[in-house]
Amino acid sequence: MLVMNAVEVKYLDVILVLRGVTLEVADGKIVALLGANGAGKSSVLKATSGLLATEQGKVTDGSIVFNSVRIDRMMPEDIVRRGIVQVIEERKVLEHLSVEQNLRGGAILRKGELRSDINMVYDYFPRLKQLRHATAGYLSGGEQQMLVVGRAMMARPKLMLLDEPAMGLAPLLTKEIFEMLKRYNGEQKAAMLIVEQNARAALSIAEYGYVMENGRVVLEAPAAKLASNPDVKEFYLGLSELEGKKNYREVKHYRRRKRWLS
């Protein structure tokens, strides 16, 4: 469905952020994109959805193909029309509008009656139904996250790009939201590309995963294999195989041996 081939992304024509990223999201699958801060994961999403244009970024090499159409030079408005919707990081709700107006905003390109779609979102997130007339800016973080995901659902995307949905949320709420995402994927057959720092949560619902570091993909595998990979466990899941107190000298030399972590 989505194929990125050797994509290079630059901001302001000089800041090289992605150095040849190749990845793929198959129809209806959930793919996780992991990596430390500054690896370029958000840029991968923004290159796909076209929002690079809003931050003075450009795809300078490589291609992004969605359902046999090249989208790397398209305007974000056209990409949304084709069925790719990005949930931007940091929960940007439309602050002064109500919850229901936010949801209607999500479906602004669609024609026809929206009532059934709004009810579908309330079905996934019952708390939003209770808050439907509340001003979105005053909602708590978790509720705002549900709102932006619901807003993306309103567009009935074929591919949903999520940028750090679990950021700043309590563990139980994170679990709830990811369960809803998995349910949405199962029922609506929408593919998802999830960028997440919380690797455990992401790998719990993903089928395939990529690990990025410094603008490159350094590891890719089915999610279960990724979760049991010792390097991933050590650097992203916080589980160490070294006995006793962590010997940092050993860690440093261990990391040095792994070239892709340079």
């Binding site: 929002l51 602050e95 002064h96 905003g105 602004i108 005053y138 567009a155």
Partner: protein
């Protein structure tokens, strides 16, 4: 008592025109976050254009009014294309300064084209007044008040119930989010500027019909409509009308009673005094959007 009622009636009526001018300002601010300092200049130039079409070219007054409105819509689209689009993503202050420059440009063009004169528009609304009891209300005022209400109604309806209105609100909240939802920010800017300049054209012609066509008309934009917008709230359409009424009433009553005592001029500063007061007491205006802070 009669005098007070007359001042009150005058104030309400003139407040309608101020509200109409402010409506255009609010529309532009609401969708593109730009304080259009050229609004008064546009108002003045559209008044001149109308005069030019009727007196210099000899067109029928109603035809020239329609033509001026068409020109204003094109001007709105042109401003978006030439001035706003290159500045998307730049600090908003840059755009505001650009509108300031545009205002001066329009003033200069008016002087070059028609000289620094004062002319009158042919009468298309009867000048006679209607008597409501002891109060005389010129028919101009009633027409402009009525037109203001109609335009206000159209705008409120479209903001609340149409997709275009929702799109404008979303663009004014967050341009990046708007683009991520598929809204074309450029189209929204173009639509709102076209509509706002059409309002400027209508209010410019009405104001010129009430007073005269002169280069001083542009002062209405800054001295009257800006305080109205701040009083009512920068993003609020009802605020523009309510603010207009308040400014109109206070200006009329204040000017009526105090002008004779100080030899004139007090009515000019009343809107500015009101603006100062509201900024000290309630800076967001009566209906403005407060900055939402989550603690």
């Amino acid at each position: 008592m009669d005098k007070l009622l007359q001042f009150l009636a005058n104030g309400i009526m003139i407040g309608g025109i101020y509200g109409l001018v402010a409506l255009g300002l609010v529309l532009i601010y609401k969708s593109s976050r730009v304080l259009n300092l050229a609004h008064g200049g546009f108002l003045m130039i559209f008044g001149w254009l109308c005069w030019s079409f009727t007196e210099q070219i000899g067109m029928n007054i109603w035809l020239s009014i329609v033509l001026v409105i068409v020109v204003s819509i094109l001007a709105g689209l042109g401003v978006e294309r030439v001035m706003l689009r290159p500045l998307i993503g730049q600090p908003i202050l840059a755009v505001i300064i650009a509108t300031l420059a545009l205002g001066y440009l329009l003033e200069g063009i008016a002087i070059m084209a028609w000289g620094a004169n004062t002319k009158g528009l042919p009468e298309f609304i009867p000048h006679s007044a209607i008597w409501l009891g002891p109060v005389a209300i010129p028919q101009h005022y009633i027409w402009s008040f009525g037109i203001a209400l109609v335009l206000f109604g159209i705008l409120m309806y479209s903001f609340r119930y149409t997709k275009m209105g929702l799109g404008m609100q979303i663009v004014s909240e967050d341009q990046q989010v708007a683009r991520s939802l598929g809204i074309s920010v450029k189209s929204v800017f173009a639509q709102s500027w076209a509509f706002a300049l059409a309002i400027a054209a209508i209010s410019g012609i009405l104001y010129a019909a009430l007073h005269a066509v002169s280069n001083f008309n542009l002062l209405v934009g800054i001295n009257k409509a800006l305080p109205v917008m701040i009083l009512g709230g920068l993003e609020s359409l009802p605020g523009a009308l309510v603010g207009g009424l308040i400014v109109g009433i206070f200006e009329s009553i204040g000017g009526g009673y105090i002008d004779p005592l100080v030899g004139g001029g007090f009515s000019d500063i009343v809107p500015l005094i009101l603006m100062l007061i509201i900024l000290l007491v309630r800076p967001y205006g009566i209906f403005g959007w407060k900055r939402i802070e989550r603690i």
